[in-house]
Amino acid sequence: MTMAPMTPMTPTAATERTAVRVELLVDQRWFTVCELTDLTPGRGVAALLPDGAQVAVFLDRSGRVYAIANRDPFTGAYVLSRGLLGSAGGRPFVASPLLKQRFDLETGRCLDDEGVVVQAYATRARAGADEVSAQVA
């Protein structure tokens, strides 16, 4: 893949109010990507990390948040956030919108091609200073 260097930019995170924040563990620090209300159950959004990397953040039906790298390794396009979320055997997955390969949201493993893995991130949702729920994906 030849990718031009990402345009440097500072992602803005609106966290002033007492809203529930969605945070990702990036380089051992929690980074706020959005508010919980920015997410629709069953869908994803894309977010930028401070180093310009793209993540896909998902909310499932039961209110759990997951995050994996946004790049679809099969096509090289940054589109996993636009796939549909599903579950099989109790495990959540997203199906790439391009060629439909499915990726486990907790581990990043491709369910249709053993050996292909995308990065998965630990996530948590926090309101103010109080931790609402924490998950390690």
């Binding site: 803005t12 069953g42 894309a46 793209q54 790049r71 090289g76 940054y78 919108p97 050996g115």
Partner: protein, 882 residues
């Protein structure tokens, strides 16, 4: 231990016998697995010497490294395999000396191990032609993961300049094309230099080579055939700068990959005096023993009993089994006397297969050839004087390989020309695996016959494809037979009265048509409600899947006016169920950008509107193309641009064209009676009326239509789901037509209709289809599947035999009155507009990964096209290109 090896038996009395394996590649690993299966590892000491720094990996899939596989992901060794079986694996420590008198092997580290049985699986090495300059920096071979990593690293360093780097692959055989795919995957301008007059000279004939070349060139690779490399030029630092060819021409290049075949690695065997072939290869007999009965050779390093060196992995696996059986003293399956070298593979995304006597060498044989240069398809069958199929070559479309290969050697049930014609042009639809005899081999990797598969179902009561795979091993090799296997298993189950699971997906045991009835009669308005009440037990309360979510969303959208639910596809729960195309009301393209198709009813457009489309495309830098449906597609918009673009389009009076949805696309028309001297009705007006009536109608699959103004049929209405052709008395209505991969002419449903009757019948037809079709089933497939076929549909739609007519018409009336333009609605609602951002935490920022480069005065995605995700059976080899 082997009875023919007295010293082994003697050794067993004192200490555990020792088996030494030299080489841990694919074949070596299969040998170890075969030993473990026979429990030899429980009593014997097994020592493995491996030159590479990592355990056996899938060399066949090397190029898939570029589609996201990690080196670890290519590993063939199950976690804990070595420890579980007590196998001593020495990585990065190649065997260097064999002392056959002392029966010892000494490795580079100095470790010496005494053996009772020695197995050589040293594989082969890439052949590098003696081209001056071949040792310059930037010259590589393509054989190992380390080679691949080195090439990637070197290419990266060279690509930093203004113009991209370029590379030359020497060799246009299987491996050469693989290597070229890898360079292309790295974004290099890629040249292929092949000494033979065509690509893949060993496998395909001249016609096949030409078809392959055309397709490869269409992908942007540069092919030079009939020439060899003459000299490699390097700069002052010794790095490659150019390659001169034998015809005197020269290619500027940053790197060169030699992929001109491989040679058996037989040096160890030569050094210790084992017999080797004249042209290399360690000579073995049918039991895979060398000239020393305590030493075996398997895989690509061996010269088999039939005098051939096999570069394919499947024969290598067979030899591994034979050697393991001999050592375990369980010679239950015969020896290795040669193998079928039929192959089917996907190179650079092109299907290529060859089987049997592909070059027609038998006396009196004749060719049957189908060649379509336009679509890059070439098929040749070789037929014997008695009519038996002897072999063939397939390029561009190898779908029939699974059926043809088992037929080799027998007289096919239909004429050979029918076997090469595309479906719909004379190829018999019914000639599937069911037509094959029981002896036909379905799975070539594991030599499983059709009879064995049938027996797994009928005698061993296996009821699913995975169970049959496990029981017979069929389909667990290269996987190219899985389609035939699935069809055989289903046929056998149905013949035995076992019901086959026709459920929509893993979440629902119902078909789409059944779910439609459930939603309609129980008035269910949400997906969650349907999943929790009618899903499979294990799927309830879960998140569903990507198959049923859009299907159910479509059912609810189709029934929305009747159910009193919101018809707007982006509202509430519906928003989470739609595929990305419906979600963003645009079509996702391969680089993550979207395309936009405004509705142009009937293909009629004013100059003012045309100008608006042109201005919008120009202002946003969009690639424009005229579609086959008489409208204009604008490509390359980022999600955050979609509302801005549509604001201008809606202001100019455009509506959504629903190109993104399983919905009505277009109603094409010819100019008809108004302008054309042959026209007998106003086809443009009828097309516009129909398009405006059915726009936005959600259906099991896309719907296309056309109206022709006379029997000359310039609008191609009979290629559409519903087509209308003018007569001097009114309109003829045709249904179930299709273009695409499986073309079908539409059937006449009713003739000489007036406007009102025509619309009534189309209303009923469409609603009946929406109600009863399966997910993603076009009207053509539906018409052929539905019980009673066209006659039944005519009874229901025209004669109203079920008394459904009024209900179907009322549902369509609800749709027509409930229609709203999705884009106008979206633009009017800030909440709905919120989703149109590239990044949730940087709403104004464009996605930097969506980039474009110029092409023919417009733009195209700046995205490296990765090679196909699957590469079925492929050779590792070498005899391949010269």
């Amino acid at each position: 231990m082997s009875a023919s090896n007295p010293r082994t038996a003697a050794a067993a009395e004192n200490a555990a016998p020792t088996i030494v394996l030299v080489g841990h590649g694919m074949v070596g690993q299969r040998f170890l697995e075969a030993l473990a299966e026979r429990k030899v590892t429980e009593t014997a000491r097994v020592v493995v010497f491996c030159e590479e720094p990592r355990p056996a990996y899938d060399r066949v899939q090397l190029t898939s490294y570029f589609s996201g596989r990690t080196p670890d992901g290519l590993s063939l060794v199950e976690d804990g395999f070595m420890a579980r079986h007590g196998i001593e694996l020495h990585l990065g420590d190649p065997a260097e000396v064999i002392d056959r008198d002392a029966r010892t092997v000494t490795a580079r580290s100095g470790l010496t191990v005494a053996y009772d049985a020695l197995v050589l699986a040293t594989g082969s090495y890439p052949f590098v032609p003696p081209v001056p300059g071949k040792d310059s920096d930037g010259c590589f071979v393509y054989r190992t993961i380390e080679d691949l990593l080195a090439i990637e690293e070197y290419a990266k360093d060279r690509s930093s300049g203004d113009s991209g780097a370029s590379g030359v692959v020497v060799g246009g055989g299987l491996l050469g094309l693989e290597a070229a795919g890898a360079l292309k995957g790295l974004g290099l301008t890629t040249h292929i230099v092949e000494f033979n007059p065509r690509l893949m000279a060993i496998q395909v004939d001249e016609g096949g080579g030409a078809a392959l070349r055309r397709t490869v060139e269409d992908m942007g690779l540069i092919v030079h055939t009939g020439v060899g490399g003459k000299e490699i030029t390097a700069d002052g630092d010794g790095a490659v700068t150019a390659m001169t060819l034998s015809d005197g021409s020269s290619i500027d290049t940053d790197l060169v990959i030699f992929s001109a075949g491989v040679r058996p690695r037989d040096q160890l065997a030569r050094d210790c005096g084992l017999d080797v072939g004249e042209r290399g290869g360690i000579a073995v007999d049918e039991t895979c023993r060398t000239s020393d009965p305590a030493v075996y050779a398997i895989g690509e390093c061996a010269l088999a009993a039939d005098g051939r060196v096999y570069g394919l992995v499947a024969p290598g696996y067979e030899m591994a089994e034979v050697a393991a059986r001999e050592i375990a003293d369980t010679p239950d399956g015969g020896g290795f006397t040669g193998a079928d070298t039929s192959t089917k593979l996907k190179l650079l995304g092109v299907d290529v297969a060859s089987f049997g006597d592909a070059h027609g060498t038998a006396d009196g044989c004749l060719d049957v050839v189908y060649s379509d240069s336009r679509s890059g398809v070439y098929k040749k069958l070789v037929v014997g004087a008695d009519g038996a199929l002897l072999g063939g070559v397939l390029v561009g479309d190898a779908e029939s390989y699974g059926m043809l290969r088992p037929l080799t050697g027998s007289v096919p049930p239909v004429s050979p020309e029918q076997l090469v014609l595309p479906a719909g042009l004379g190829a018999p639809a019914a000639l599937g695996p069911s037509a094959l005899p029981d002896e036909a081999v379905i799975c070539n990797c594991h030599n499983v016959t059709k009879g064995a598969i049938r027996s797994a179902v009928t005698d061993h009561h296996r009821t699913t494809v995975p169970e049959v795979k496990k029981c017979t091993k069929a389909g667990t090799g290269c996987g190219s037979c899985v389609k035939a296997l699935t069809s055989l298993v289903n046929d056998e189950l149905e013949a035995g009265g076992v019901s086959v699971d026709k459920g929509l997906c893993g979440c629902f045991a119902y078909t789409r048509a059944e779910l439609y009835e459930i939603v309609r009669t129980l008035r269910i308005t949400t997906y969650a409600q349907l999943l929790d009440s009618h899903g499979r037990a294990e799927a309830r309360e879960g998140d569903g899947c990507e198959v049923c979510k859009p299907a159910v969303a479509s059912i609810i959208a189709s029934l929305a006016p009747t159910l009193g639910a919101s018809g707007y596809v982006l509202d509430g729960e519906q928003a989470a169920l739609q595929d990305t195309n419906d979600h963003f009301l645009a079509n996702l393209q391969r680089n993550g950008s979207y395309s936009i198709v405004p509705r142009i009813p009937g293909g009629e457009i004013t100059p003012e509107k045309l100008i608006v489309i042109g201005e919008v495309a120009r202002d946003f830098g969009l690639y424009t193309k005229i579609t086959g449906g008489q409208r204009i597609d604008l490509f390359g918009a980022r999600v955050d641009q979609l509302p801005l673009i549509w604001t201008r389009l809606v202001d100019a009076g455009f509506e959504s064209g629903h190109a993104y949805g399983k919905a009505l696309r277009t109603v094409k028309s010819c100019v008809g009676q108004t302008w054309c001297r042959y026209g007998v009705q106003d086809s443009v007006r009828m097309a516009i009326d129909l398009e405006l009536r059915y726009r936005g109608l959600r259906s099991p699959h896309k719907l296309k239509s056309a109206v022709s103004g006379c029997a000359r049929e310039c609008a191609e209405a009979r290629g559409k789901d519903f087509g209308v052709i003018a007569t001097s008395n009114g309109w003829n209505l045709y249904v179930g037509g299709n273009g695409g991969a499986d073309p079908r002419h539409a059937d006449l449903l009713a003739q000489d209709l007036d406007d009102k009757e025509l619309i009534r019948l189309i209303d009923r037809f469409l609603m009946f289809y929406i109600r009863t079709a399966d997910r993603l089933e076009r009207t053509s497939a539906w018409l052929e599947r539905i019980e009673g076929g066209l006659d039944h549909v005519r009874e229901v739609v025209v004669e109203d035999s079920l008394g459904l007519g009024a209900e179907l018409e009322a549902m369509m009336a609800d749709h027509v009155t409930g229609y709203r333009d999705e884009w106008a609605e979206t633009l009017g609602d800030p909440e709905r507009l919120r989703r149109f951002v590239s990044f949730v935490n940087a709403p104004g920022a464009p996605d930097p990964s969506v980039k474009f480069v110029p092409e023919r005065d417009q733009v195209k995605p700046d995205l490296t096209i990765l090679s196909g995700p699957t590469l079925p059976v492929r050779t590792l080899e070498g005899t391949a290109s010269r």
